[in-house]
């Protein structure tokens, strides 16, 4: 933490708002997270809690307006996203894979065209054959069957899994330290999901990249990542070493989230958490999770909890007024 310039990604007190008819949507009220070099970080939480917003802000592709983003909050490899120059150099240092591979490839251009355009700006002035070889290598890298045919295809001609492999290949063409993966398997079949995540894991390890992985596949998060951030309604509620958080979750939301995944042992599908994420307009004054929390007390409705160390440890933090009361879970 001391040497900030060494961080692959450093977000400090990021806020993202939208102005709408009903008022201001505080999608991200004030979020901090960091990713060290060659570290793999997971980001989990239910749909609509702001994970994609955080990633898009970090890659400087969140559209503003309509979003109002505090841009100086984000630093990628020591460079702030603030300003035009910042945006450009940040984009140079970030790769990102999107949720839906069918919408992240241009429907009107051949795969080879899309890949060449990336290569041309990364490695200008090479020969056509060289670019072609580089593309074939890149596709080979993601274990793509029949790469020659894929290059000559349009996205519609490929299956979902193939498209996502192409996306990963394209994202890896740029030599960056930081890879952001926004639910790369949500739109895919379960059978393909594991293949893609294994591939991503392998490639990131090989190239010693930092990774931020957003996924609902908690098993994969556990397998792949070193640390995990748990988000709820725009806030980080718990952060710590993946293994420790998964084994001894402290925040009631984390406990519920982990319990909601079906387990092989035990009584099949678990309970989940009753209720919905609160409205982002006029969010509750206290803890945003209070309305759904089994440990809720008057204190929780009054003041929002801040992230505090667990057992005096720097690397495990929980935002809950009742973090210590593990027994109640």
């Amino acid at each position: 933490m001391e040497n900030k310039n060494n961080l692959a990604l450093n977000i400090e007190n990021l806020s993202v708002k939208y102005k709408v008819y009903e008022g201001t949507l505080e999608v991200i009220p004030g979020l901090s997270m960091h990713v060290e070099q060659a570290e793999r970080v997971g980001l989990i939480g239910e749909a609509g809690c702001g994970k994609t917003t955080v990633l898009k802000s970090a890659a400087a592709v969140l559209h503003s307006p309509p979003a109002i983003v505090r841009k100086d909050a984000i630093e990628v490899c020591g460079v702030s996203v603030d300003g035009k120059k910042g945006v450009r150099s940040v984009r140079r240092n970030v790769s990102m894979i999107f949720q839906d591979p069918s919408s992240s490839l241009n429907p009107t251009l051949k795969i080879s065209t899309q890949m060449t355009d990336i290569l041309k700006s990364q490695f200008p002035g090479r020969k056509k054959a060289e670019y072609r070889q580089m593309m074939l290598d890149a596709l080979d890298n993601v274990s793509m069957p029949a790469p020659e045919r894929v290059l000559g295809s349009y996205p519609v001609q490929l299956s979902g899994g193939m498209r996502q492999r192409v996306c990963i290949a394209m994202a890896l063409m740029k030599d960056t330290n930081l890879m952001l993966a926004d639910e790369p398997t949500t739109a895919l079949d379960v059978t393909i999901e594991e293949q893609i995540l294994d591939l991503l894991d392998k490639l990131v390890r090989e190239k010693k990249k930092s990774l931020v992985l957003v996924s609902h596949a908690l098993g994969a998060i556990r397998k792949i990542t070193d640390r995990v951030y748990v988000m709820y309604a725009g806030n980080v509620v718990e952060v710590g070493k993946t293994r420790e958080v998964f084994e001894h979750p402290r925040h009631p939301y984390t406990i519920g989230l982990l319990a909601a995944t079906p387990k092989l042992t035990g009584s099949g599908i678990a309970d989940g958490i009753a209720g919905d994420i609160p409205s982002y307009i006029n969010p509750p004054k206290g803890c945003r999770f209070a309305s759904r929390c089994p440990r809720c007390t008057p204190e929780c409705l009054e003041a929002p909890p801040v992230l505090e160390s667990v057992d005096g440890r720097e690397d495990w933090m929980v935002a809950c007024h009742h973090a210590g009361e593990e027994a109640m879970a």
Binding site: M96, S103, S104, L105, P107, T108
Partner: protein
């Protein structure tokens, strides 16, 4: 590719049937007109026998299907569209004389509209929400609301009457031995008379401008809208993060998909130009097909009206098919058979 060709052939057949039905409908419609068109055209003083003879010549004394079949046979076998009661010539000759001139006018407009509409729309989208964008949007909004005749009058007032740069209307005489295609400018070029082409060109500037400006405004709005919408697409964000250069991103990755809605609207605009051209032809005294159509319609000339609607139908259909081909060319989702 086979999918596209099949679709086009199917559409072509469909259109032919549609046009045949259309001509039949127009024939029956003409029969509904109160009064005898032959009598109206030949005047009240003409003796009854002459009228009767003319009526029989034009198959007006036969049943509707017979008249229609006779007309159709003439069109298909000899390109004979029947006799006009307005010009007293075969309508085919009238078409040959007037249609190329209108097509030339519309052709220049079509090119001008495509280039300017896309250019202005792109600039507007790239500098979204800047003062330039706002200015362009303001002017194009106004342009969409302004009738072609008002633009024509304004241009006349400024460029002809006040500045005296362009003539107030009319076209130079093209010598008979020049006529190859019937298009005035093109004929001059084919003959090699560049001086006369210059004159023709000068006379066509204001008509082309008056006819195009409204469509340019509309095209610019559509193209800007398409580009601005596609800027939010995931594939643009992905290409941006993946490292495609800014220029390529805008001019290729953003431009190509944005062309799909633009092209569709472009087709509609070009087709409507042909219908709207008559006002401009009237204002600038341009001897074109639209003005001829207007005369034919106002004089209730039966064979003229059938031919005019038929020709417009063909032009509409051709433009539509060209647009379909263009869209298929741009959008592989239409071109390629997918199992999805």
């Amino acid at each position: 590719m086979r999918k596209t060709i099949l679709a086009i052939v199917k559409k072509l057949l469909h259109t032919i049937v549609l046009l045949l039905v259309l001509s039949f409908v127009v024939f029956s419609f003409i029969r509904l007109i109160p009064g005898d068109p032959v009598r109206i055209s030949m005047g009240p003083m003409t003796p009854e026998e002459t009228i009767a003879q003319k009526r029989s010549e034009l198959y007006f004394d036969r049943s509707l299907p017979v008249q229609w079949a006779h007309w159709l046979k003439g069109v298909v076998t000899e390109g004979d569209f029947g006799e006009s009661l307005f010009t007293h010539r075969n309508v085919a000759e009238d078409i040959k004389q007037y249609l190329p001139k209108s097509l030339e006018l519309v052709f220049y407009c079509a090119i001008f509209i495509l280039i300017m509409g896309v250019l202005v729309g792109t600039i507007s989208a790239i500098f979204k929400n800047s003062w330039l964008d706002n200015l362009i949007r303001f002017i194009s909004y106004l342009g969409v609301c302004t009738p072609a005749y008002a633009i024509g009058v304004l241009l006349l007032l400024v460029f002809s009457y006040t500045l005296g740069i362009f003539p107030i209307g009319g076209m130079p005489n093209i010598p008979d031995n020049y006529v190859r295609t019937g298009m005035m400018g093109l004929d001059c070029l084919l003959v090699g008379d560049f001086a006369l082409f210059g004159q023709v060109f000068k006379c066509m500037v204001l008509p082309v401008l008056s006819l195009s400006l409204g469509s340019i405004a509309y095209m610019a709005r559509i193209h800007r809208g398409a580009m601005v919408e596609n800027i939010n697409a995931d594939y643009i964000a992905f290409a941006q993060v993946a490292g495609v250069s800014q220029g390529k991103l805008v001019m290729k990755h953003l431009m190509k998909p944005s062309f799909i809605p633009t092209l569709t609207i472009y087709g509609l605009q070009v087709a409507s130009l042909i219908g709207n051209a008559f006002i401009i032809e009237v204002i600038f005294r341009y001897p074109g097909f639209s003005q001829y159509s207007l005369n034919v319609i106002q004089n209730k000339d039966p064979y003229g009206i059938v031919a005019v609607t038929f020709v417009f139908g063909i032009i509409f259909a051709v433009v539509n098919i060209l647009v379909d081909i263009g869209v298929a060319f741009l959008d592989p989702r239409i071109r390629i058979n997918t199992s999805e």
